[in-house]
Structures are given as structure tokens and as C-alpha cells.
């Protein structure tokens, strides 16, 4: 699988991150990026606007 993100867009993200990646390391991460991309898409599917982040789950009393 290939990422939807272009290599140029990926290169921009690498620069923004400040990670000192070699060309080989960039290729490795670009080739794997589609898996992260799918997860990011999944967590960004629309939710009702009132849902707040989970800071902690609610503990039940046994």
C-alpha cells in the first residue's frame, strides 16, 4: 500500500518534526506511513460536538 500523502508533503512533515532522518530512513517511514494515515482518518471521523476528551474513565464501585 502507498500513502495518500505525496512524498513532497511527507518531506514537509519531516522538516516540521525536526527529526534528523537519513534518505533511507525517510523512505522507510514514508512506505509505512499509510498505516498511520488510516488510523488518523479513523479517529477523525465525525463525532457529536459535545463529546469531550477522556481524561480518565469513570471507575465503577464493585
Amino acid at each position: 500500500m502507498k500513502p495518500k500523502l505525496s512524498e513532497a508533503e511527507f518531506e514537509f512533515m519531516v522538516k516540521q518534526s525536526g527529526l534528523p532522518l537519513s534518505p533511507e530512513q525517510k523512505t522507510t517511514l514514508y512506505d509505512a506511513y499509510w498505516m498511520l494515515e488510516a488510523m488518523i482518518e479513523r479517529v477523525n471521523t465525525p463525532m457529536p460536538r459535545e463529546i469531550e476528551p477522556a481524561h480518565m474513565f469513570t471507575a465503577e464501585v464493585r
Binding site: 534528523p20 509505512a32 479517529v43
Partner: protein, 468 residues
């Protein structure tokens, strides 16, 4: 042949003055010397400390002032648990010479319970990157077949317990790092409720997903170990300020009247398990039904939803922990850790927040599903252990994890061995309880172990005559 005791067995014999903690410890040391060149479970054995601890325990027993069931029991700590004056590396070149000044809270608690410290145990680098062959220490190997993987990241603890080098040990679990090695090494391991066990002094990976917990040969031993590590600790911001339950006294009461839910789609369609794993789970359900439990099926969101949410949170938080070193010492990390974690640099703040919002909805879903159940059953690993040289670099991203849903939600979850698969390696199931209902997990897990008799068979290596 030197017998390998469980903690419960050893504790009874020690209390009756029929087993010497010093002799018990020497047996573990002999097994370590015979097999650790093959298994690499230890990063740093502490033989002198172990013998000193054992002699002190023996003196207490002989004086009639034994502390409790862990007095004189040989244990080890995953090498992300700080140990005062003893090197703690995270299995990483970056902490190769790190000697903490203080014990982790849990290390101190086990020492106060009289345990015998056998040493520091292998992990995947910083509890995430492994199995790696480019670190200062080799990865741990599986005692059932050293050509095979232990899973991780509490890999050394899994190998050392299964091979009888220690009777119990610490693990940490951010996405399955206690339950994975417990499953592949054929032992028991529990990730307790988030907040039950202090993480103070344990190297962090992901603040809201990290859990500390015990691993041992049996469920009962895990209960004894957890009893000595649980409890509020002001030094851990996530610590739950509530009384600690009695984890031991319900063991042996059986499962009659319990309501057991099966999340069948997790392990049949979302991440299909091997035939032997499926047989083991179905057999366990028959055992529970025979013992008087009511079985029903439970449906949750597809596991990939939990997996995506957990992975985004874990990777973002771990990246935040390691970012300064990733920017300045990237190539000092092993390849697996640095490549897996570098992806965290490409997650936006809004993605993390959306994952945290979705986390709340998944927590609510699980809470609703568990309203009608005392226990959920799923799988803890999909298959038997693969060869250690054939573990895919991106394996944790390619298929949804069977364990991460309960890191995401904070619910207590335990891996219990269900026998051996076609390759002669362990298979397992996962039991999940409501928050802070660890006692129920132990009650159910122990009932299964007793009925199924799965704890009778050890790896041949554990039973072999120690060399020399």
C-alpha cells in the same frame, strides 16, 4: 531434579520451615546459570543481592517473624523499573550507564514484602522496540523453544518465569506488554486497572496508557504479587486514592452464578486467531459453563476502532516523552524503536485530541457492555509464538491488537494459558473485569486453571538438571 515451585507452594513450605529461602534462591540461580546464555532473560543478574536477601528472609522465618507470603520468594524486575544503586537501562544504549538513586514505588513495596531480587530483566527498548538485535543486549527468547519470540515488551519476565529462574516478576503494559509475553511464554500476567498500581519510578512510555503489573506461573501467584504492589501513591499523578481490595480470599470460590460475556468478533473476525487458540478459548467457555457460569455473546465496536484510537494516543505520548533524544540522538536508539516512534512526529495535535474524544465514547461502550457481565473473554494473542527472526517490523500496526482495547479503557485484563498449540508452544485467552474488580479476575482465572490442569506442564528447560 530441583523442583520448580509456584509462589503459593513455596510460601506454604517456607512458612512451615520445610523450604529454605536460601536453597530456593540457589535453585533459581542454578537455572539462571544453566539457561540464561540461551534465553537472555536477564540484563543484569544480582546474585549477591539475591543471596543476601534470601539469608535475611531465612533469618526472619527462623525467628518467627516472617513478613508474609512473598518473604523469601525470588523475583526479578523489568529493566524499566528503577532500582536504587542498580543499573536501570530500559534495554537502551541511551541509558546504558543509568544508576537510579531511588527504587520505584513498586520495587520498594516488593522489597518490603521480603522478596529476593534476582536481577533486572530484558525488555523491548523503552518497552516498545523489539525484538531488536542492534542493542547492547540481545532480546529474550522463549523457553518453550528458544528459536521463537517471547512477545514483548516484558520479554525477560516472561522467559524468566516460564523457565523457573524466578517465581514472579514485574511487567509493564501500554498496549499489551504484560499479556503478550504471558501468552507466548505460557504463564499468567495481569494488567491491573489504570490507577491501581503506582508507576512512580517506572520509565514512562505513554502516560495515559501505561500500567504496571505482575507476571507469574499461576493466576494465584499473580494475586499474591499484586496484593503487594497495589495501592495509592501520591508520587503517581494517576494513582487512584481508594482502598485496595483483598485479591486472594475469593480464590477457590469458583464461578457458579457468574455472567461471562464473550467478545467473539474480536478474535474470530477482527483479528482471527489460530485454530489452537480458538479451541483453547472454546474449551475454557465449556469449563466455565460446566462450573455454573452463564455464557453470553457481547458485541463491541470493531477492534480496529480501539486499535486506531489507542495507537494514536500511545504513539503521540511516547513521542512527546522521547522527542528531545529523537532529535539529538536518533541513531543511538535501535532501529525498531526509532522507526516505530518517529511516526509520532507526524501526528497533529488535533488527531491526538480526536483520539482522546473517541476514547471516551469507547470507554462508555465498554462500560455499558459490561453492565450485564462479571467477566469478558477474548484472546490475548492470535497465534503461538513466531520465530524470533520472523517478527515483522510493523506487526503492531498491520493487525488490530487484541490487548490495546483495555489499555485504552483502563479495564483490568489478564492473560491465562489454555495449553499448547500445534507447534508445541503456548496458547492463551484474555479475561477482562470491571474497573478495580481484579479479585473477580483471579477467582475466574484460578477456577479455570484448576479445572483445566494447564499449570502442570512446564517447559523442558525449566525441569532440566542445572549444569554444574
Amino acid at each position: 531434579m530441583d523442583p520448580v515451585f509456584t509462589i503459593a507452594e513455596a510460601a506454604k513450605l517456607i512458612a512451615a520451615k520445610q523450604l529454605s529461602p536460601v536453597e530456593l534462591t540457589k535453585g533459581c540461580i542454578a537455572r539462571m546459570k544453566a539457561h540464561d546464555d540461551t534465553l537472555h532473560a536477564f540484563i543484569l543478574p544480582t546474585e549477591e543481592r539475591a543471596l543476601a536477601d534470601a539469608r535475611a528472609a531465612e533469618a526472619r522465618v527462623m525467628a518467627g517473624s516472617a513478613i508474609g507470603p512473598l518473604d523469601g520468594i525470588p523475583i526479578g524486575h523489568k529493566d524499566i523499573y528503577n532500582t536504587a544503586g542498580i543499573r536501570t537501562t530500559g534495554h537502551s544504549r541511551l541509558l546504558e550507564d543509568n544508576v537510579p538513586a531511588q527504587d520505584a514505588t513498586t520495587v520498594r513495596k516488593w522489597a518490603e514484602a521480603g522478596t529476593v531480587l534476582m536481577g533486572k530483566l530484558s525488555t523491548h527498548e523503552f518497552a516498545m522496540g523489539g525484538p531488536s538485535f542492534d542493542l547492547p543486549w540481545p532480546p529474550a527468547r522463549n523457553p518453550w523453544n528458544p528459536e521463537h519470540f517471547t512477545s514483548g515488551s516484558s520479554s525477560g519476565t516472561g522467559a524468566a518465569v516460564a523457565s523457573g529462574m524466578i517465581l514472579g516478576g514485574t511487567g509493564s503494559d501500554t498496549g499489551g506488554s504484560i499479556r503478550g509475553p504471558a501468552a507466548l511464554c505460557g504463564i499468567a500476567g495481569i494488567k491491573p486497572t489504570y490507577g491501581l498500581v503506582s508507576r512512580a519510578g517506572v520509565l514512562p512510555l505513554s502516560f495515559s496508557m501505561d500500567h504496571a503489573g505482575p507476571m507469574a506461573w499461576t493466576v494465584e501467584d499473580c494475586a499474591l504479587l499484586l496484593q503487594a504492589m497495589a495501592g495509592y501513591d501520591a508520587a503517581d499523578p494517576a494513582s487512584a486514592d481508594r482502598p485496595v481490595a483483598d485479591f486472594v480470599s475469593d480464590i477457590g470460590k469458583g464461578v457458579k452464578g457468574m455472567r461471562i460475556g464473550v467478545v467473539r468478533h474480536f478474535f474470530e473476525t477482527d483479528n482471527p486467531v489460530s485454530p489452537a487458540t480458538l479451541v483453547g478459548i472454546n474449551h475454557a467457555l465449556e469449563v466455565f459453563e460446566h462450573l455454573g457460569a452463564a455464557i453470553s455473546e457481547v458485541k463491541l465496536s470493531p477492534m480496529v476502532e480501539y486499535h486506531a484510537c489507542g495507537s494514536i494516543i500511545l504513539t503521540s505520548e511516547a513521542y512527546a516523552v522521547h522527542e528531545p533524544w529523537l532529535k539529538t540522538r536518533f541513531n543511538d536508539y535501535g532501529e525498531l524503536f526509532r522507526d516505530r516512534l518517529a511516526l509520532g512526529g507526524f501526528i497533529r495535535a488535533t488527531d491526538y485530541v480526536q483520539a482522546m474524544r473517541r476514547r471516551r465514547t469507547l470507554c462508555e461502550e465498554l462500560k455499558t457492555a459490561m453492565a450485564g457481565c462479571d467477566i469478558l473473554v477474548s484472546a490475548s494473542q492470535a497465534t503461538e509464538a513466531p520465530k524470533i527472526t520472523e517478527v515483522p517490523k510493523w506487526g503492531t500496526m498491520e493487525k488490530p491488537s487484541l490487548t490495546i482495547p483495555f489499555n485504552l479503557t483502563g479495564y483490568p485484563a489478564m492473560s491465562v494459558c489454555t495449553g499448547l498449540g500445534a507447534g508445541g508452544l503456548p496458547v492463551s485467552m484474555q479475561l477482562v473485569a470491571r474497573p478495580f474488580a481484579e479479585a473477580t479476575l483471579f477467582q475466574v482465572g484460578h477456577a479455570y486453571e484448576m479445572a483445566a490442569g494447564t499449570r502442570k506442564r512446564r517447559p523442558t528447560m525449566a525441569l532440566a538438571e542445572a549444569a554444574g
